[in-house]
Amino acid sequence: MNGPEKSSMSKVLILGIGGTGCGVVRRLKNSGLAENFDTAVVDTDSSALEGHPADRCIPASSDWILKDGVGCGGDVIRGERALARERATLTALLRGYDLIVVTAGLGGGTATGGLRTVASVIRGLGTPSVFLVTLPFAFEAFSRRRNAEACIDELLPLADILLTIPDDLLFSRLSPDCSASEAFDLASSELAATVGGIASVLRSRGLAGADFAVFMSALRGHRCSCGIGTGTAEPSEGLDRAPLALERMLDSPFLGGQEYLKSSDSAIIVLSGGTDLTLAEMKRTMEQAASLLPSQAETLLGTAVEPGIKGQIRLTAIAIHYQEEPEPRAGRHAAPPRRASRTKAEKARPEENSGSGLFVQGELGLTSFSRGIFDRLPLVRYHEMDLDVPTFQRRDLNIDKGS
């Protein structure tokens, strides 16, 4: 097979972080989708790395002294600490690439805690990055969802492109009697196909009409949920590959269905094919795909010829739903209102007014903030905010103070 044409992003690394990330990279390697890419995985669980087919495996220990390799037990701080410790190794691993695609499942400890370190290293190297992460299912613990959201908040300023895929999109494909393990399995396999599709598109400069910079500007800094669908078709499956690829793309579980695409705020569709891809096929396919998009949505359409794909065509769609109005970036940095947290007394108290006839006085669970050295100095407000309270406190961020 001939080598790929030299493109501006010829050296691409797919990096899997944590359990989900390692699983995705394993599937990519085993299915042959990662042929043209370098792969690496990082995990705190050394058993997950044993015999892993990735090109590089980096164990990270959450215990700096014991290096036990037993995982971080879903603890975000331990996950953060583990990857922070391996920062020099990560820097050496990630150097020299034109593009890095990072994949992980949020909600646990390793990826949720460590992705920020990875993003920071990549940013320091000046390499474009795409983060493809999944959000926990709704039936998982609330704390996992909350940790996932906090991780996204930290990644947004650091990642060039952050695509968050809610696992719940899979419900459009799952049967009602599907077990949880089957659900996780399907999530992992679909994510692997998605990662491979995205990496191929970006690597081949498939966005002919809209390059990586425009792709970035559509997504950068915006908090959004994405549905991603990939459909492929071979000539052996029929004369007309295009409608088949389109149908399969629409059927992709992570796309969320045609309705999700139709209701998107922004969409990116890329058609990739081999040297036998004809102009007529390109035109027809893109017209059909574009007809599925809402007229008022911002859309980016592109095509790419990849010599490595012989006979196959691949249609990839990314449907973007902004979670809030895309506001001026600085608006995101305004401090959120103080959140009330439950006091110890409140947590210890049995359910109030539970019908016993006794009224139990409630308490306002206000969190006190420290102003540090400015404690006794006059308050100077800026746009109604007391900026002398540390920013990380006002944003309720976890900080590892070390041990």
């Binding site: 700096w64 953060e80 600490r81 922070a84 410790r85 391996e86 920062r87 020099a88 920020r116 370190t117 920071s120 940013r123 930290e154 300023p157 001026p328 970036r329 600085a330 608006g331 995101r332 940095h333 305004a334 401090a335 420290s370 102003r371 540090g372 050295i373 400015f374 100095l377 006059p378 100077v380 800026y382 746009h383 900026l387 002398d388 540390p390 920013t391 990380f392 406190q393 944003r395 961020l397 900080i399 590892d400 103070k401 070390g402 041990s403």
Partner: protein
């Protein structure tokens, strides 16, 4: 005529970290020359750029003057006009506009038309307790449509002048003038905005002409100014400085404040990263243990604060973003923090460079370790020298000061004449 032969300017900065006194003039080479300089810690007398404890500030200022006067090669009576920097919250920046119809058969804009339009632009009313202390050209518009830098000689039916007006509570200026009079400066001094002062010393002429955003992050406050076409468009102050970043580290990581401040000033994060270690080992004497603090925690805390602060600046100058042709310049002590330039570039989505005052002659030894911390002070000296030049001939920040500075000069000349100098 002063025996020294040149006008000697007295420049004062009341900073959250230090109170400075500088004597400067135009050197033989034509460049600004520092004749003498002294500084002393503010010791809490200045907070967020504004004088918080007048008595303490007065004592420190007197001692600083004494230190500066020790190396004088001229008599203190030869000291010329006094300028002092005004900073901190409470400074209001507004845009004033004034119009004038162009009469005459040839419809050509003359300097008189320009002066009249500027006078009308300056007459924006302000509240009784506020006083305008800085008025700078922004830009001109002819016939309501064409924006122009120099309208003289152009054909027009109507000329609009827009100026950038800075005002402050008059008590703040009176307070400083009272201190100066007590120190022997009978005429008091003239206030200058710290946000605009840095523009003179740090931005190149091309940057001022093509448009640039200057951010000066000091110990107590961060000032910003957008200059395009050699005119000021926006300026402001955010009450956050390097001390806030150090305080965030102090609260977040349970480290002493002074340790955090020196950590930032000495760029220790970058140095530790270069060694390849992922943590800082800190000997926590209070708890008798050695603590390993991940460097990522430092990065996270510093990053959050910088992104928030620069985000405020972005919101404030959003309307002027298309006019910024060159990029951002970051100066002040905050520019020495690792990743500050990178984060500012990310927020503003522009190129960023670190700025320092340009070359000066004279007593420069004190500034060599961190010249960026004195950008506003040097800017004030350049501002004074620009107005001294009779050939400034250029509209913009320099030219519009002439009328303002003339007033200062005439007061000084009267005093100098009376003293027989």
């Amino acid at each position: 005529m002063p025996r020294y032969g040149k006008t000697i300017y007295t420049l004062i900065e009341f900073g959250t970290d230090k109170i400075c006194v500088m004597y400067g003039t135009r050197g033989e080479s034509g460049r600004p020359e520092v004749l003498s300089f002294a500084q002393r810690p503010s010791a809490g007398s200045v907070y967020k750029g504004a004088i918080h404890d007048c008595n303490a500030a007065m004592k420190i200022l007197a001692q600083t003057f004494k230190d500066a006067d020790q190396s004088l090669r001229f008599s203190s009576s030869e000291r010329g006009p006094v300028f002092f920097l005004l900073n901190g919250p409470g400074i209001t920046a507004r845009q004033g506009g004034g119009s004038v119809m162009i009469g005459g058969t040839d419809k050509t804009v003359t300097p008189d038309h320009v002066s009249e339009a500027i006078e009308r632009a300056k007459s924006l009313p302000s509240s009784a307790d506020q006083v305008n202390f800085g008025i700078f050209d922004s830009y001109f518009v002819i016939n309501g449509t064409t924006r122009i830098k120099d309208p003289i000689g152009k054909l027009a039916d109507r000329l609009d002048a827009f100026v950038h007006i800075l005002s402050v509570d008059r008590k703040r200026i009176d307070q400083v003038n009272a201190m100066l009079r007590e120190l022997g400066f009978e005429q008091g001094g003239s206030a200058m905005s710290a946000a605009i002062a840095s523009v003179f010393s740090v931005l190149t002429y091309e940057e001022r002409d093509m448009g640039a955003l200057l951010v000066d992050m000091g110990s107590g406050v961060t000032t910003y100014a957008v200059v395009t076409g050699d005119g000021a468009q926006f300026s402001g102050v955010i009450p956050v400085g390097v001390n806030n970043i150090a305080n965030d580290l102090h609260v977040g990581l349970d480290l002493p404040f002074e340790f955090c401040l020196s950590f930032l000033r000495e760029s220790r994060l970058r140095k530790l990263r270069e060694t390849g270690v992922g943590f800082l080992e800190y000997s926590d004497r209070a708890h008798s243990r050695l603590r390993r603090i991940p460097l990522d925690s430092f990065e996270k805390i510093i990053g959050e604060r910088l992104r928030e602060t620069f985000g405020f600046i972005r919101t404030a100058v959003e309307p002027a973003l298309p006019d910024i042709g060159t990029g951002c310049v970051l100066t002040g002590g905050g520019s020495m923090i690792d990743s500050a330039c990178d984060i500012l570039g990310g927020i503003m989505e522009m190129r960023v460079r670190r700025g320092e005052p340009g070359a000066h002659d004279g007593a420069m030894t004190e500034f060599q370790s961190a010249p960026c911390c004195y950008s506003a002070l040097f800017g004030m000296l350049e501002y004074a020298l620009i107005s001294e030049s009779e050939d400034s001939g250029r509209f913009g920040i320099g030219q519009s000061l002439v009328g303002f500075i003339d007033g200062v000069f005439s007061k000084w000349k009267k005093t100098a004449g009376g003293l027989g100098i």
